[in-house]
């Protein structure tokens, strides 16, 4: 609102500023708690019960349980924090990042090996690159309409 935000015209990208940080405070601090092995164990044993210890919104809890990282980010999550959830699941950063594109693990990995996603068409919202909203979700599975959590 009052923050000047020159960074809202980049497709498929959320900048973690003070507004996002406020929105996602408890979600992200929940993620921080997963840096302790005893908390990871308790979370894995009963996700819902563990999440209910945190003053997060119901939406945030559901997004965590669904491992829907795009949704988590829309609700104020930051990827460096959210990565603790993936780590708890034994996932790599590549698996986590890939899950946000709609591609299968293999498709994403292959894209990276081929040199990564191209910048062309992905600089500004409104261009026609593969990260633009009108081209989501990406990948065969995404296009078939199935959703994959990380």
């Amino acid at each position: 609102m009052s923050l000047d935000k020159p960074y809202q015209d980049v497709p498929g990208t959320t900048i973690f500023d003070a507004d996002e940080s406020r929105k996602g405070y408890h979600l992200n601090q929940f993620c921080v708690s997963l840096m302790r092995p005893e908390n990871r164990a308790r979370f894995k044993a009963d996700e819902r019960a563990y999440l209910d210890e945190w003053p997060m919104s119901e939406e945030q809890k559901l997004a965590v349980m669904a491992r829907d990282l795009n949704r988590c980010i829309a609700l104020g999550g930051n990827i460096y924090f959210l990565a603790r959830i993936g780590a708890t699941d034994g996932k790599s950063f590549q698996q986590m990042a890939g899950s946000m594109t709609g591609m299968s693990e293999e498709e994403y990995r292959d894209m990276m090996i081929r040199g990564g996603r191209s910048i062309e068409g992905n600089r500004y919202i409104g261009e026609d690159g593969d990260a633009q909203a009108h081209r989501q979700p990406q990948g065969k599975r995404g296009q078939a309409g199935t959703k994959e959590g990380c």
């Binding site: 020159p6 960074y7 980049v10 497709p11 498929g12 990208t13 959320t14 900048i15 973690f16 500023d17 003070a18 940080s21 405070y25 992200n28 601090q29 993620c31 921080v32 997963l34 840096m35 092995p37 990871r40 990282l69 795009n70 980010i73 930051n78 990827i79 460096y80 924090f81 990565a83 603790r84 993936g86 780590a87 708890t88 034994g90 790599s92 950063f93 590549q94 986590m96 990042a97 890939g98 946000m100 594109t101 709609g102 994403y108 894209m111 990276m112 090996i113 040199g115 990564g116 996603r117 191209s118 910048i119 992905n122 600089r123 500004y124 990260a131 633009q132 909203a133 979700p137 990406q138």
Partner: protein, 284 residues
Amino acid sequence: MARITASVYTSHVPAIGAAIDLGKTGEPYWQPLFAGYDKSKQWLKDNTPDVIFLVYNDHATAFSLDIIPTFAIGCAAEFQPADEGWGPRPVPVVKGHPELAAHIAQSVIQDDFDLTIVNKMAVDHGLTVPLSLMCGQPREWPCPVIPFAVNVVQYPVPSGRRCFNLGRAIRKAVASYDRPLKVQIWGTGGMSHQLQGPRAGLINREWDTAFLDQLIADPATLAQKPHIDYVREAGSEGIELVMWLIARGAMNDEFDKRAPRVAHRFYHVPASNTAVGHLILENT
């Protein structure tokens, strides 16, 4: 008097740490990456400094959302490798250099940089992966390390210009230390990568190459680049590259116009989601 002898720049991807720790460095996926650091390992053996001043960013590890320092200098005697969720990396404890760290803190705070002094801090892959890349798997790191953490998680992060000027202030601080230490300054993070959203996996080789060229030849102009250019061109996490400007600002040519020697340059795609860039610059 102490002096900065060289600067080292490198990406710091967590998967690189995992590949080293799990003995996968010879696998076809990883081999070309690690080969790019063979020369660097030898260089560091031949040019072991007395202290490494290691600029990196904490990835929501030591600093949660409760407290977010723009610049934090580690003044402790040692720093434990952090548990980032996969368990702590099996790497040596990082020994600090409290005296030099305190001296630098005093000097740059008096030079109008508003540091946060940290006496207890776990260090994450941002700090330990560059050490692993440059040193392999030693039983102890080759010298003390002063961790210097920069906020690039929550915006606003410090500008490139601010980082570059901080580098200059660090050089001045090192030069006024009364013991004849050889100090290297390392800038880590980047290069192009994006870890979030539908644009995840972005790599911009052309932009990265131009960044490396300009970092070597004209860092003062590079330091003027606004954040939005990093985000747009190099991906949301490409912003980590502002930290390289701290190391670059500490090199001699910013004072006496003698260009540094490029001892090594390397670029490789991909490591996990990231383009790996690497430079070694020596003061001449």
